[in-house]
Symmetry: C2
């Protein structure tokens, strides 16, 4: 595990714990790594409520309620789907904040409009408007795209309580 | 990521793909790391169907249908709960095999009967009896207990197609 990210995760969990807030995750291209990072911290069960690894499109619809029509219209890697994943994870958990990640980690799965390294993030927080962030990491290789994606997800969770 | 485990994960996914089988995960103490490992492999979307990070007891009940009474009677770290997690993940996915992990990663959360390092695993495969495995890794530290747990989960998925 990345030590800098572990340190940030530990501080993040302290802040959430102090507020009495819990976190949910909805992960596609990171495949569980954000939840895996947060739960590396001892005592994380006070903050990490649940995670959804919505790798298939069916999982996105069935687990966090992303309308199949939204995926058909915009593609799984898109702002509307990222927003729906985050809002669905928030609604289907006891969490106060939910982060969602959907992207093209590569090397396959890219199109001209959606190149390798394109990742959409969304953060849903109770009683606040959902925010979405697009990142284009480029063709760094699958592992590094995923690592950068975990870091961006942590940054969103940090901003929510900053 | 552990290179040996990555190599094993890649071979595992090849085997599942050749059989047309998909995988689901239900993770408690590993918090998404098993799904995170499997999805590190390019092309894993053909095999990894979905994952449930059932960190809280409520998540175990709501996401994969573990009866709350089972948790109350046996504790979240127990053979019956591991079995119910695996069978619930199988039933609530399109997967052919589902692996479940629930354990005491530590440093907190242990009791005399359930020491740090105790982890229960279960593997549910369509049309086969579910198998469960108990491991006692000892007080290796949270990170290493989780790493060993990921390896044991991979071993169970390997055995299912051996």
């Amino acid at each position: 595990m990345n030590l800098d990210l572990l340190t940030r995760a530990a501080a993040l969990l302290d802040t959430y714990k102090a507020k009495g807030w819990m976190i949910a995750t909805a992960e596609s291209c990171t495949g569980g790594l954000v939840a895996g990072l947060l739960t590396e911290i001892a005592g994380s069960s006070a903050v990490v409520e649940r995670g959804f690894v919505t790798y298939s499109n069916e999982a996105k619809s069935e687990l966090v309620g992303v309308p199949a029509t939204l995926i058909a219209e915009h593609g799984a890697v898109s702002e509307p789907v990222a927003r729906a994943m985050a809002e669905g994870a928030l609604a289907r958990s006891r969490a106060h904040a939910a982060v969602a990640i959907t992207g093209v980690a590569g090397p396959g799965g890219s199109t001209e409009a959606k190149p390798v390294g394109l990742v959409w993030f969304a953060l849903a927080v109770r009683d606040r408007p959902t925010v979405a962030v697009e990142r284009r990491f480029g063709e760094l290789g699958r592992g590094r795209v995923r690592e950068h994606s975990v870091e961006q997800a942590v940054a969103l969770l940090e901003e929510a309580v900053a």
